[in-house]
């Protein structure tokens, strides 16, 4: 069901090379947290020979202005993403169960602060 394409590579499923060519290090997706208590969000990607370098490159590229308190780097090709071609059917089950929303239920009129 789920495609194995990385989030950073939309065209070919395996556009992240397993073999490192002379100039092409593996791709890493970068997630940054802007303040304590905030979620980590996708910021972009970097190329790096290893995880340590990926983190350093990510800091230099996506954290130059002190607006980052935490950072994750993840090899792009280990991310599994939802399918794009039939995203509808994949997510439909979440949309059709309207009884999951509080608006589905009626309460007596005039009742305040329910």
């Amino acid at each position: 069901m789920a495609s194995s394409a990385s989030v950073g590579a939309g065209y070919e499923d395996s556009s992240v090379p397993e073999e490192k060519s002379e100039t092409q290090w593996p791709l890493w997706e970068v997630f940054t947290q802007r303040a304590n208590g905030e979620p980590h969000e996708h910021a972009g990607s970097v190329h790096a020979a290893d995880a340590e370098m990926a983190l350093q490159n990510a800091r230099d590229v996506y954290g130059r202005r002190g607006s980052v308190v935490s950072m994750w780097v993840v090899p792009s090709n280990v991310i599994t993403a939802s399918p794009s071609d039939n995203a509808g059917p994949f997510f439909d089950p979440g949309a059709e169960k309207i009884y999951r929303h509080p608006q589905f239920y009626k309460i007596p009129r005039g009742l305040k602060g329910f």
Partner: protein, 319 residues
């Protein structure tokens, strides 16, 4: 065969409908090949421009007039490297490797902004580049931040936040020189005179001579034409020049109170096309500098790979 053609047409119609509805296209969404190749061309040119754009300013880092100016210039040039990386990263989501993009730059197959083929002759050029070149880039990129391709738009938003520092530090350099000694003011005026017209050209050929504009506008990659962006840049910049007592080298420049826009003289498009075709003052020097940097960095890349192979076997198997 017929079935396949219909499917493509249906996909295309759905794509056009999404564009018309103002939706954002993401890397894994279906898109026409032409949209993909046009974006790769446009985004990689933009990324290359950021990287080559480090060279004219890098030229003055060792000769900045004070430690403060040197720190600022270093930070700015580092930002340009970062901007190049944001856009390369966005371009890679279209299914092309950065190594291939870099190769296209180094072999001269890919273009970059014409403006960076002009030399930086004095310290005042650092001011004018920030003020004009980054100013023009802001005008362009603010609109590109609404482009239909998600990764491009998001890179532009990130870049625009940083460009304002670039423009302001440049304008501050010029304002400082303009109220300095007569020699300093003359140096600022000379830089303005040399950079004004190339900065106007930097926003791209006139609409009548820009083959890609109509298509890119229809796909909402571009939201304003080159001429509209140029007019906006001029309208913003003329009062800024007045404010520091410098003149712009265009005798035809005047405010039209009916249109509320500045009218300006004819642009020398022959010069623009000469620079684009590789015959600008610094084209060869810029490309050679990039090739040298790539070659001279080879041992660093090899050492990093050897280190990674030796020290992180787990990361290797995970990746």
């Amino acid at each position: 065969m017929e079935q396949e053609k219909m499917t493509d047409e249906a996909l295309n119609a759905a794509f056009e409908a999404r564009i018309a509805a103002g939706e954002t296209i993401e890397p894994k969404d279906w898109m026409p090949e032409r949209y993909r190749t046009q974006l790769i061309r446009m985004m990689s040119q933009h990324a290359h421009s950021e990287i080559v754009g480090m060279l004219p300013e890098g030229n003055w880092i060792t000769r900045a007039p004070s430690l403060k100016r040197k720190m600022v210039l270093l930070a700015k040039v580092q930002d340009e490297a970062g901007h190049g990386l944001y856009i390369y990263c966005g371009t890679e989501t279209l299914g092309i490797d950065r190594a291939e993009l870099v190769d296209q730059l180094l072999t001269g197959k890919a273009k970059y902004s014409s403006i960076f083929n002009y030399p930086t002759l004095s310290w005042a050029d650092m001011g004018v580049i920030g003020w004009f070149v980054d100013g023009a880039a802001i005008v362009n990129q603010t609109v590109l931040a609404k482009a239909s391709y998600g990764p491009y738009a998001r890179a532009m938003i990130r870049i625009c936040k940083e460009e304002n520092f670039h423009k302001k530090q440049g304008y501050e350099i010029i304002a400082t020189l303009a109220k300095g000694t007569p020699e300093q003011k003359a140096m600022a005026q000379d830089a303005v005179n040399r950079w004004w017209w190339p900065s106007l050209m930097m926003l791209g050929p006139s609409d009548t001579d820009s083959p890609n504009t109509a298509e890119l506008m229809r796909w909402r990659v571009k939201r304003k034409t080159n001429d509209e962006l140029r007019q906006r840049f001029i309208d913003l910049t003329v009062p800024q020049a007045d404010a520091v007592g410098l003149t712009l080298p265009d005798p035809d420049l005047r405010f039209n109170s009916d249109t509320q826009h500045y009218e300006f003289g004819a642009i020398d498009w022959d010069e623009f096309w000469q620079v684009v075709k590789g015959n600008g003052p610094c084209n060869r020097e810029r490309l050679q500098a990039r090739r040298d940097a790539h070659e001279n960095g080879r041992w660093v890349r090899e050492a990093a790979e050897a280190y990674a192979a030796k020290h992180t076997p787990q990361a290797q198997s995970a990746a």
